[in-house]
């Protein structure tokens, strides 16, 4: 144990920032894992450039990872870091603006060369003048100490330098009293075939820890108690991983094999990557030639009785739209995951946004309704996947699940569920005739709809006696034969719409968090804004104000009580990372003067920003 003093803190926000090649994502991940294992609640926000590895030392090349952890429940990765680790001048410059006065900055002085400073427009070294006076700066020659610490290793200087992120991790682990054993185990697996590198990394980790313990300038270390959490087993998980696992679980609980047809696209690709490793669960992944083929393969598999899934981001969803329309017409279950990113067009591929809601709702020719749902946090991605499958298979309809870049890569602790407690998703395939013809002989009618769910029978190839043809031309109700009859078309258009509307009957009422029951302002969100909104209402309530908060999982159809909820508040505020897409739907449907608050910055909302917005509305009503 160190002889230095230890302070207890309630919550901390740390941001690791460096060049794309500096391993900041890994460092952040490891710090997070250590923190999770200590029982803190936490939330993370990785942030990396669109380039694979932009030129070293430049602003576009900066990659960062932020984690907020606390002794209470954490809803966001934090608005502003308490500690910034800046591995080079670019990392400092790119992140300084987010840093509140008084925050701690740990800089790698070795990288503050004239050349590197110049690359990012520093004419003078900020470490040498007073420009950083508002912050607590720890100037540490991270690279050279690391190299020194690895003096005895038989490695190139470059390899030694590469371990500097482990040095930094060691130092931070000391500062926040995190255990390093997990990281050591992790390194062992990672460098199993490279023992010298492994040893060097472990040595650097320890050296960093020792540096904190021994160096004068680091006078205090901090302790953050575990957060109270429900009893259970926990792990840390990102949204994309939770999505993948959710679909595997849905496959297991439905008894249907999972078939993913996908084309890689940031930030959705990791779902494909993960599922491609899970063949052991009967999962088939088809990396298609494009997004159209990806959804086509998923639809073909669904026709064959599989759980058809396709994953993409906004531009890919645009390409899939015609095929999704076919799925609407075929009335087959199909799940489409859109991990939204900044748009329009190629936009900001590695940044988050919520601007595909209206595309999901309306981005197809004709009246082509589908169900739309959205997870609200990384861990909620798991449940959302199960819910998407429930709706798709019960109602025989495409379901679009709208995640986003923040949920995809962000992580938080997850109480691992008991498999048996997951919803029962058993599906009944058609096995025999479902009707009789005029002469009373049994016949199979592929478009005879269930009275409750309005689902049509799912009769898969291989089932004797149920041979039938489906297609995208309008079909006669019941028989499914091609029909150009005007009345039938009108009927079928409304039937498909009614089927989607019917889903609402299976949904729980929207729950409102309104502790006093006296709030006049309701803040309503959807998707990944959950954390910031929740945190902001908490902040506002902390000042004694009353504000209600609710969050939509189901965007189409809406829960049945939504209209009543909206009308029971004097003001409804809807924060969105778009120009007001949910607000548009709410206004149209309920004629309620919903107030939009929008920011389209490729980043999640800051809690304080939202709190200010809520305050403003409260004031206007006061």
């Amino acid at each position: 144990m160190s002889s230095k003093s230890v302070e207890r803190l309630g919550r901390v926000v740390i941001r690791f920032a460096g060049d794309s090649g500096d391993g900041m994502q890994l460092t952040g991940d490891r710090f997070t894992a250590e923190t999770a294992s200590l029982g803190n609640d936490l939330s993370t926000l990785p942030n990396f450039p669109a380039e694979i590895r932009a030129p070293q030392g430049t602003l576009p090349g900066v990659s960062s990872f932020q984690v907020q952890f606390a002794d209470h429940d954490v809803l966001t990765p934090g608005d502003a870091p308490d500690v910034l680790v800046a591995m080079n001048p670019a990392a400092l410059r790119a992140n300084l603006g987010d840093l509140p006065r008084g925050a701690t900055v740990i800089v790698n002085t070795d990288e503050f060369t004239k050349r590197n400073l110049g690359k990012v427009g520093y004419t003078a070294n900020p470490l040498d003048d007073d420009s950083l006076d508002s912050w607590q700066v720890h100037a540490v020659p991270l690279t050279s100490i690391t190299v020194e610490a690895l003096d005895t290793f038989d490695l190139t200087r470059k390899d030694k330098e590469r371990a500097k992120n482990m040095f930094a991790l060691g130092l931070l682990s000391w500062m926040y009293n995190r255990p390093t054993a997990g990281t050591e185990a992790f390194l062992k697996t990672k460098f199993a075939t490279k023992p010298e590198i492994l040893a060097a990394n472990v040595a650097a980790l320890h050296a960093g820890h020792a540096y904190g313990e021994t160096t004068e300038s680091f006078a205090v270390s901090y302790d953050i108690s575990p957060a109270p959490m429900a009893a259970g087993t926990y792990r840390n998980i990102t949204g994309n991983l939770a999505l993948a696992y959710g679909f595997v679980a849905a496959s297991y609980r439905s008894g249907l094999p999972l078939v993913l047809g996908s084309y890689p696209i940031t930030p959705a690709s990791d779902v494909l990557h993960t599922l491609s490793t899970l063949k052991r669960f009967g999962v088939t992944t088809i990396q298609a030639e494009d997004e159209i083929a990806g959804v086509g393969a998923a639809l073909g598999a669904a026709y064959g009785g599989a759980l058809g899934l396709t994953t993409t981001s906004g531009p890919g969803l645009a390409l899939k739209s015609e095929t999704i329309g076919l799925a609407v017409s075929l009335e087959l279950p199909l799940v489409i995951v859109d991990v939204q990113r900044g748009g329009p067009s190629t936009g900001l591929p590695t940044k988050t946004e919520q601007a595909d809601l209206l595309q999901a709702m309306f981005g197809r020719n004709g009246e082509s309704p589908v169900a739309v749902i959205a997870p609200s946090s990384p861990t909620d991605c798991f449940d959302a996947a199960l819910e998407a499958v429930r709706i798709a298979t019960t109602y025989r309809t495409p379901v679009i699940l709208l995640s986003d870049g923040y949920l995809a890569n962000g992580s938080e602790p997850w109480q691992v569920p008991d498999v048996d407690a997951l919803p029962d998703l058993t599906v009944e395939l058609a096995t025999e005739p479902n009707d009789v013809d005029d002469e009373g002989n049994p016949v199979f009618h592929p478009y005879l709809h269930d009275e409750t769910t309005l689902a049509r029978p799912w009769a898969v190839p291989g089932t004797p006696g149920l041979e039938h043809r489906v297609g995208g031309i309008e079909k006669a109700d019941i028989t499914g034969n091609i029909s150009y009859d005007p009345g039938n078309h009108d009927h079928m258009v409304r039937l498909r719409q009614r089927k989607i509307d019917t889903i609402a009957q299976s949904l729980p009422d929207l729950e409102v968090d309104d502790p006093s029951g006296e709030a006049r302002v309701l803040v309503l969100g959807w998707g990944s804004t959950y954390g910031p909104i929740k945190a902001a209402t908490r902040l506002v309530r902390g000042t004694g104000a009353k504000v209600a908060q609710a969050h939509l999982r189901h965007l189409n159809p809406f829960p049945a009580n939504l209209g009543d909820v909206l009308r029971s508040y004097d003001r409804v505020v809807v924060p969105e990372m778009n120009l007001g897409q949910l607000a548009l739907l709410l206004r149209a449907k309920y004629l309620v003067d919903v107030r939009s608050h929008t920011a389209v910055r490729g980043l999640p909302f800051a809690t304080t920003e939202l709190a200010d917005v809520i305050d403003q509305h409260l004031k206007e009503l006061a």
């Binding site: 894992a33 999770a36 294992s37 029982g39 997990g182 959490m229 009893a231 259970g232 087993t233 926990y234 792990r235 840390n236 998980i237 696992y245 595997v248 679980a249 297991y252 078939v259 063949k279 052991r280 669960f281 009967g282 088939t284 088809i286 298609a288 030639e289 159209i292 083929a293 086509g296 393969a297 998923a298 639809l299 073909g300 598999a301 669904a302 026709y303 064959g304 058809g308 015609e322 329309g325 076919l326 075929l330 691992v416 498999v419 048996d420 190839p461 291989g462 089932t463 004797p464 006696g465 149920l466 041979e467 039938h468 043809r469 489906v470 297609g471 995208g472 031309i473 034969n481 091609i482």
Partner: protein
């Protein structure tokens, strides 16, 4: 970066598809749906439909394990008329949909019906990727060198100079040779046949179905409404005899009969040429090799095509089995399942969800 994939050995295209019980047979009528056929009078599609309905029972497969997937076009109406499972999908996408179906269901006999526009224009990418992957399915490409359903625009197989609704002054678009394209796209089975030659068509279908992997069958099909007579020369028996180069495995490639017989020879520079048999140096005769791992000779034969049908090779250009994508994908899944000791159970899923780093709150 490379590894042994352990893809299973090659079998017939219908292996794995349930067959009729010993002794049972089916007939053409059982494969005929109750839907009224809706093509124009005289359309070549009728003959193809009749041939397919006549041929399918021969496969001896359970009818419910056969699926026809089509795109959009006159030809793509095909599935409605067969009493099998079927999907009339959207324009150009049938091979993609069939890929998902064939990959996830090894017990189905999967057929794609498409047109020259559907397959080669909007659907070109899915087509070449299906062939490259060698997904086990048979693709029937009805080539009438025109867009029928949209009333007569030129297609990617229309001749240069074709006057159509969208090329009033004649097309300046150089056409694809579907066989060359397929061979360039790594196709393992490519054949060409004709709507009106029931026997040849049936034989070709049989070989295509037998082939494990993607079988592309180009079928010359007359559209009497928008491109009538495109293959007229080949419908006349004498002209056909004179012009059709018959592709028979192991045999020289011949057209014509008697004195007028012409054969394909390889000239000094390695080029294929069609010459009177009488003039041909027997040492230069080109013998057809359908199963040659090298598709080069098949490709060279495909280039003997001539828009004016001076000669036209017909038959199976290539039938050279190689591992199929769907077998490979299924093998990886079953190997993974087997390696883990069987289908994933409750405990496996629980372990997966837990991962490596968990902690417990009491």
């Amino acid at each position: 970066m490379s590894t042994d994939l352990g893809i299973p050995t090659l079998r017939s295209g219908t292996d794995g598809v349930p067959t009729l019980p010993e002794g049972e047979t089916q007939n053409r009528k059982e494969f005929t749906s109750d839907q009224e056929v809706r093509w124009c009078p005289g359309c070549g599609d009728y003959a193809i439909l009749a041939a397919v309905q006549g041929f399918l029972p021969d496969l001896g497969l359970r009818r419910e394990n056969i699926v026809f997937v089509s795109g959009i076009g006159c030809s793509s109406r095909f599935p409605y008329y067969l009493d099998t499972y079927g999907m009339h999908s959207i324009h150009g996408r049938a091979p993609a949909i069939a890929t998902g179906l064939a990959t996830s269901r090894g017990d189905l006999s999967v057929w794609v019906v498409t047109g020259d526009g559907d397959a080669l224009s909007i659907g070109g990418n899915h087509l070449i990727h299906a062939m490259r992957r060698n997904v086990n399915m048979t693709i029937l490409l009805f080539n009438n060198k025109i867009y029928g359903l949209t009333k007569g625009q030129y297609s990617p197989t229309s001749d240069v100079g074709a006057i159509t609704k969208s090329t009033p002054l004649g097309s300046v678009d150089h056409p694809f040779n579907p066989v060359s394209l397929a061979l360039g796209a790594e196709a393992s089975f490519v054949a060409r046949t004709m709507d009106s030659d029931r026997k040849h068509l049936t034989e070709t279908l049989r070989a295509a179905a037998e082939h494990r992997g993607t079988s592309l069958v180009e079928i010359y099909q007359n559209c009497p409404i928008f491109n009538d007579g495109a293959f007229q020369l080949l419908k006349d028996r004498d002209e056909a005899t004179a012009r059709i180069l018959h592709l028979v495995d192991g045999e020289p490639v011949r057209a014509g009969s008697g004195d007028a017989t012409r054969v394909v020879v390889r000239d000094d520079e390695g080029r294929l040429q069609v010459v009177p048999e009488a003039d041909a140096d027997p040492g230069r005769l080109v013998r057809h090799r359908v199963a040659d791992p090298d598709p080069s000779q098949a490709f060279a034969l495909s280039r003997l095509d001539d828009p004016a049908f001076a000669q036209v090779p017909m038959g199976i250009f290539r039938n050279a089995p190689r591992p199929t994508y769907d077998d490979g994908v299924r093998a990886q899944v079953s190997a993974a399942v087997d390696d883990a000791g069987g289908r994933a159970a409750h405990a496996d899923l629980t372990a997966l969800l837990h991962g490596k780093d968990t902690w417990t709150v009491a």
